[in-house]
Symmetry: C2
Subunit: 260 residues, 2 copies
Amino acid sequence: MSTVLDGLAVDQASDRAVFRQIADQLRTAIRDGRLTEGERLPSEAQLIDHYGVARMTVRNALQLLEIEGLTRAEHGRGVNVRKRPPVRRLASDRFARRHRKAGKAAFIAESEQVGAQADVDMIKINEMLAPPEIAERLNYTGPVIVRSRRYSLDKTPVEAATSYLPADLAKGTPIADPNPGPGGIYARLEDLGHTLDRFTEEVSARMPTEAEARQLALMPGIPVFRLIRTAYDLEGRAVEVCDTIMSADAYVLNYELPAH
Amino acid sequence: MSTVLDGLAVDQASDRAVFRQIADQLRTAIRDGRLTEGERLPSEAQLIDHYGVARMTVRNALQLLEIEGLTRAEHGRGVNVRKRPPVRRLASDRFARRHRKAGKAAFIAESEQVGAQADVDMIKINEMLAPPEIAERLNYTGPVIVRSRRYSLDKTPVEAATSYLPADLAKGTPIADPNPGPGGIYARLEDLGHTLDRFTEEVSARMPTEAEARQLALMPGIPVFRLIRTAYDLEGRAVEVCDTIMSADAYVLNYELPAH
DNA sequence: CAGTGGTCTAGACCACTGC
DNA sequence: CAGTGGTCTAGACCACTGT
């Protein structure tokens, strides 16, 4: 019986640890396409037999691949080459007013374009004092309306967002309602006379906290984007700060930069 | 003697694995500031004594923290709470012509502004056929000049970049020279009559490959940004594609979006 | 049920660090 | 040198999956 392991062996004399050599060989097999998306890797028992090593050695090798986001272990089933989820490419003009005119919030509209099913759940509305990080960006230290929600694509959670708006602006308006109506809160802000002028986005990436991994059902080895967007109206006032955590393997962010 | 472990114990009856409980308690101590940046965690031996568990259990707990990017193990010295490196905030206008006029390449100029020492090394120039990913963005399938280099900040490598330029445009010009002269290759492109009009950037994030981790001296648990920038001249021709891998903990990317 | 991965124990030897 | 983490062995019992 022929497997991906044929002819592979470790060099006991090498400086490189045995579990790293095993990981190297499996990684190469994946990158070369000898193991394809969704395909099962040899089981721990098969690797132990093939390489003649202890179980911990094999598990350390497999864990390396998992940490790198290349594989996914399923209890009782085996270890598979990880399938990449469909990627959302976020365009730099995704908050342009012309896209809002259709009466749909940005997330829903984009998802429909690519034929994916979009869902929003875990919507919560609160009021609190602006946390320092937010107050600084809003240039405002009073109470804020906090809208948090989670977005899913084809039933897979991909993004958790929390919006902060000055209470003196948003309280008692549809913005403080779980369903803000057609066009989302940006449309409502414009209804209230705060015509939007520009947005800034601050993008960072890191490994998720435990809570984020749970909320977004993240697999090990998948980092998150943290995207902090600030919306400014025509008068230059910051009217919203949106703090978003996104599963990084589900997104490519597109931006446009001026040369002048 | 008082340590962060005082009063901490695991619940053997809990559903949560013992090593996860130990990791939870150490993680909480870090987040709460009972263990501060650079401070040493209890040694493996101390954790084994305190919790009364096997070494593997303790090591699994410590590895969880390491892959979350919270700690850093140093052979022979101990495990420390990871220090965050100085963060570079990349402005959305960093390639604007006015910044180039000073005669400095973008990386050097920005670094000097924040008082950091910038270095560029591992400069290599090649010529090859455009890889598909690049050819697509350049809208050109012929030979390209490939400039690869690594950037360091205060002696720490933070970024590896590879630029691709159509050979019919760049060959035999200073662009194909290791040192392209004042203002970098963007200044040279403009010298050649390709006045730059705009850039697009495509940002993704993932865990590094082995090669990237080595080149950027990345610690485990630190993801990378992959940033693909395409430069267009006034005629709308793509004149350069720059493929960059950046240590994600060293950067925040700032962008500006239009609302209209 | 057999086969899979998840957790845990109790050792061993090694390489690196700092005194 | 003693103390630290890095690697490895050889078991054990468990929970989950598919037949």
